[in-house]
Amino acid sequence: MAELLLELLSEEIPARMQTRAAEDLKRLVCDGLKAAGLEFSDARAFATPRRLALVADGLPTARADVREEKRGPRVGAPDQAVQGFLKSAGLTSLDQAEKRDTGKGEFWFAIVNKKGGPTEAALPGIIDAAMRGLPWPKSMKWGSGTMTWVRPLQSIVALFDGKVLPGEVAPGGAMAPIKFGDTTRGHRFLSKGEIKVSGFADYAAKLRTAHVILDAAERKKIVLASAEKLCAEVQVSLKADEGLLEEVAGLVEWPVPLLGTIDGQFMDVPPEVLIVSMRTHQRYFATTKPDGALANRFVVVANNVARDGGRTIVDGNERVLRSRLADAKFFWDQDRKTRLEDRLPALRDIVFHAKLGTQAERVERIAGLAVEIAKFVPGADVGPVALAARLCKADLVSGMVGEFPELQGVMGRYYALGEKLPAAVADAIGDHYAPAGPNDRCPSAPVSIAVALADKLESLISFWSIGEKPTGSRDPYALRRAALGIIRIVVENKIRLPLKHFFKADDLMEFFAERLKVQVREKGVRHDVVDAVFALGGEDDLVRLLARVEAVQSFLGTDAGKNLLTAYGRAVNIVRVEERKDKALAAKIAGAPDPTLFEQEEERALFSRLAALSLSSRIKSEDFVGAMNDLAGLRAPIDAFFEKVTVNVTDNDQLRLNRLKLLNQIRATMDSVADFSKIEG
C-alpha cells in the first residue's frame, strides 16, 4: 500500500476560493483514481493562501490487467442505441465490437481490456486531468502562456510511494514546463529556500517548521484561541464572526493575532459603522465590553512573526484604521447636516428598475401601501407610518451608505434620531428591511411592521406587474425573501392582513402559499394540511389560515380525526365511482337529500346530525377547534351509516340518488373546513 502526495504551489489564492478548490481537487483526483480502478483508503485535501495539497492513502503499487465485457444493444437495434453503447464502451465503430448469441437473441459485446501495470504510470494522467478540470471561479493566464490557473502556478510536488512521479505541466508559450518534483517552499517571509519532502507526514511537519499550518481548520482554531486570550487580558470579548474567521484563515499561512486600539475620538460614531469599517476594509475582529457595548479594542491577524513582537504591525494597523474611521466620521458629520426630508429629491435621480421608475416613485408606492396596511396593524398611527415610509430610503443618498451599502436603514435610523424625529419613526426606518433572512430579527413595533410590510409588498407587487417572477433557480430581486419576510412579520405579530386587498394576481397568492409551506414545515406543520386549507380558496389572512391549519392538523392526530378521514375517503370514493359511470350524475345529486325518502334510521341520524352542525358560524367566528369538535361528532353516525346502509341499491334509483346526495353532503360539510381530499393518508 502506498501514498500519493500532491501539492500545487502558486501565487496567493483568494481566500474565498480556497476551501472549495481543495474539495474540488479531492473530488477530481478521487474520481480519477476510481475510474482507473485504483482503490484507496482515505483522501484528504488542504488549502493555504499559496497551495492546494492532497494526500491519498492505501493505494496499490500496481494493478492487474482487467478484462471487462460489456453487453450492448440487440443486433439491429436503432442507431441511437448503438451510438450510446459505442460511446459508453469507448469504441469508435461496431467493427471493434463482437456479436454474440446469448440464447435470447444476438447482442453486441464490447471487450474492454484495461491494461494494468504500475500505479505510478496511471497517476500523472489523473493529476493532469484533475488540474485541467478544477473549476476556479475566476482564472487567468500569465507570462506568455496559455494555461489558466487561479494565479500563476509555481511548482508541483507529486510523490507516489515516496518517489517523484514522472510528469509536468506546460504553461505554454515560451515558458518552461513545470516538472513534478519533491520540493516546495515554506512561508513567504518566515522561511527561506526550498524544502525537500518524502511523503505527507514529512511534508506537513516540514511545512510547520517552515511556518505554514496546512490545515485551515487548525489555522482557525489558532486564531480563535490566541485572539480570545489577548482579549481576556484586557477584559474584553471577541465578537464572533464566522465569515470573517473563514476569510482570515485564508489570508495567512501562519496566523498571529494582535490586539490594537481604536482611537477614542471615533468612539461616538455609531458602533455599526465602526464594525463594518473594521470588517470590510481591514478584516479586523471587533470586541465588546462586559455590558455588550463595543469596546475600543480590535484584533488583527497578521501573517508574520515580527522581530519587535508586532509593535510596528499594530502601530501601522491603528494608523490605517484612524484614516478609515476619519473618513467614516467625515461622512457621519456631513450626513447629519442634511435632513432626511431634504434628501428626498435626490431619490429621483436613482433608477430603481428600468420598468419601475426611480427610487422616489418607489417610495411613493411604499408610502401608499404603508398607510393602507396601517389600518390593519393595531397601534400603527397613520401619521408616523406615512412619515417613516416616506423617509425610509432617504439614507441611500447619504455619504455613509454610499460608502457602506450594508448600513442602509441603520444610518437612516441614526439620522432620524439626530433630527429628533419620533423614536417609532426612526426605528421603523431602521427596521424596514428586516427580516433579511430566517435568523434575522423580525420587526415587532406597530409603525415598523407597517413600513416593513409595505417595503416587501411593494417589491412583490411591482415585480409581479412587469412579469419578473422568480423561477426555480433565478430570483434576482429576492422576491422569495420578501414573501417569507411578510409571512414572518404577519404570523409572528398576528397581524390580520387581508393580502388580497393589496393585489389581484392569483399566482402571487399561490406564491405566498408555497413560501408559507416552506416556512411552517420546520415547525412540523404538514404541507398537505396547508394545501387542504388553501384549496378552499379565498383565504388571504395568513393568521386565520394557520389557525385553521393547526386545528385541522391536531384533529387529524386524534382517533376521531383519523376515522373520520377514512369515512370521508369512503364517501368521496363511492360518489366518484358512480360519477365516473354516469356523467350526468353530478347534477342529479347536487343539493340536499330529501328526508322523506330516507328508509333507515342511520340515514336519518346522519342527516339530522349534519343539519344540526353550525360549522359556518364557528368558522366565521374563527372557532376552528369548535368546528373540529363538531366534525368529530360525525364519526359515530357516519360509521353506523356505512355499516348498515347500502348506498347503491339496484332496485330503487330514487333511493340510491338520495343516499348519494347524503354522501355528497358529508363531503361538502367537511370541505367547508378544509379540502380533505388533499390530505395524504
Binding site: A174, Y284, N304, S323
Partner: protein
C-alpha cells in the same frame, strides 16, 4: 552615490521616487516620464494601456500624476487627495519571479519584511472606461494598501496575448507609511537637511483646497460637457484617419472631463453608465487601431 543600487533608504518623498526608479531600471525597465495629460491613474498612460497589447515584450516604469476629482477633501483629510502620484511598473510578459521582484522593491525602499505584515489580498481589477480587466491583489502592509498588482487579461475589450504584470504604488500612502507620518501633508518632500526643506503641505495643500473647490463647486459644467463632446468627436475622427496615438489622447481627455462632471454631481446615475460606455467605445477603438499598427509592424 555613483552606484545607483547603493542608494540609501529613502528619507523623503522624492527619494522614494528616485529609489523606485533606480530599482526598476536595474530590473531592466525603461524609465519613462509622466504623460503630459490629466488622467485618473497610471494605467491610462499609453505606456501601459496600449503597450499591454500586441506581441512585443515591454518593461517600463514611470511616475504618473493622477487626478481623481471626486476624492478631493479640500485638504482636510490627512490621507485623501484629488491629485496624487502613482508609480507604475509594467512587465510584459510577466516574469515568473515578478512577486519576488516586487517584494525586493519594498526592501529597497526600506520596508523591512521582518518587522511588517505584508499580505496579498484578492483584488480583481476592472476599468469600465478602458474595457480592461485583470486578476491580482491589493498588497497590504500592516493593513494599509501600499500597491496594486494586476495581471492584465483584457485591455480595450481585446484579450491580451502576452500577459503584463502591472505594479502600482500609491506613492503618498506608501510614503506616509515609510516615514511614519499621520498625514500626507507632513511628508518631507525633499530631505529635511536640505538647504530649503519643504513638506508635501508646502507644495500641495493650497492646490488641494483650490482644486477641490474647482472640482466640486466652480467648474463650468456647460464648458465641460462641450469639451467632452469635442474630445469624443475628435477621437473618432482621428481613428478614421488611422492615428491611434493622438486619438487615444482625446480618449484620455474625455475620461478626465467625465470625472470632473461626475464630481460636480451633474451626471445622473443613468447617464453615468452611458458616459462610461462612450469612453469605453473610444478606448476600444483606439486599442484596436493601435493593435493593428503593431501587428502590421511585426508582420
Amino acid at each position: 552615490m555613483s552606484d545607483p543600487s547603493a542608494r540609501l533608504k529613502p528619507t523623503c518623498f522624492q527619494e522614494l521616487i528616485l529609489t523606485l526608479q533606480d530599482y526598476w531600471a536595474a530590473q531592466g525597465c525603461l524609465i519613462l516620464q509622466p504623460f503630459d495629460m490629466e488622467m485618473g491613474a497610471g494605467t491610462f498612460h499609453p505606456a501601459t494601456t496600449l503597450r499591454a497589447l500586441g506581441p512585443k515584450p515591454w518593461y517600463a516604469a514611470y511616475v504618473q500624476p493622477s487626478r481623481r476629482p471626486k476624492d478631493g477633501r479640500y485638504g482636510d483629510n490627512p490621507l485623501r487627495l484629488q491629485h496624487y502620484y502613482q508609480f507604475q511598473a509594467i512587465l510584459k510578459p510577466s516574469p515568473s519571479d515578478i512577486l519576488e521582484r516586487y517584494l525586493s522593491s519594498l526592501e529597497a525602499i526600506g520596508i523591512d519584511t521582518s518587522l511588517h505584515d505584508i499580505r496579498f489580498v484578492e483584488d480583481d481589477w476592472e476599468s469600465p472606461t478602458l474595457g480592461a480587466w485583470g486578476l491580482g491583489w491589493e498588497v497590504w502592509c500592516d493593513g494599509s494598501e501600499i500597491s496594486q498588482f494586476t495581471y492584465f487579461q483584457q485591455v480595450g475589450g481585446i484579450e491580451v496575448g502576452l500577459v503584463s504584470g502591472e505594479i502600482t504604488y500609491g506613492l503618498e500612502r506608501l510614503a506616509v507609511y515609510l516615514f511614519d507620518k499621520k498625514s500626507i501633508y507632513d511628508l518631507p518632500f525633499n530631505r529635511t537637511d536640505s538647504e530649503v526643506p519643504l513638506t508635501y503641505c508646502d507644495v500641495f495643500l493650497e492646490n488641494e483646497r483650490e482644486q477641490s473647490a474647482y472640482n466640486f463647486e466652480v467648474a463650468d459644467t456647460d464648458m465641460l460637457f462641450r469639451h467632452f463632446a469635442d474630445a469624443e468627436k475628435e477621437c473618432i475622427r482621428l481613428i478614421d484617419r488611422k492615428l491611434p496615438l493622438p486619438a487615444y489622447e482625446q480618449c484620455i481627455k474625455a475620461s478626465h472631463v467625465f470625472n470632473l462632471l461626475d464630481a460636480r454631481g451633474v451626471i445622473s446615475v443613468t447617464e453615468r453608465q452611458s458616459y462610461i460606455l462612450r469612453v469605453r467605445e473610444l478606448a476600444k477603438a483606439c486599442c484596436e487601431a493601435w493593435l493593428a499598427t503593431q501587428t502590421a509592424e511585426a508582420a
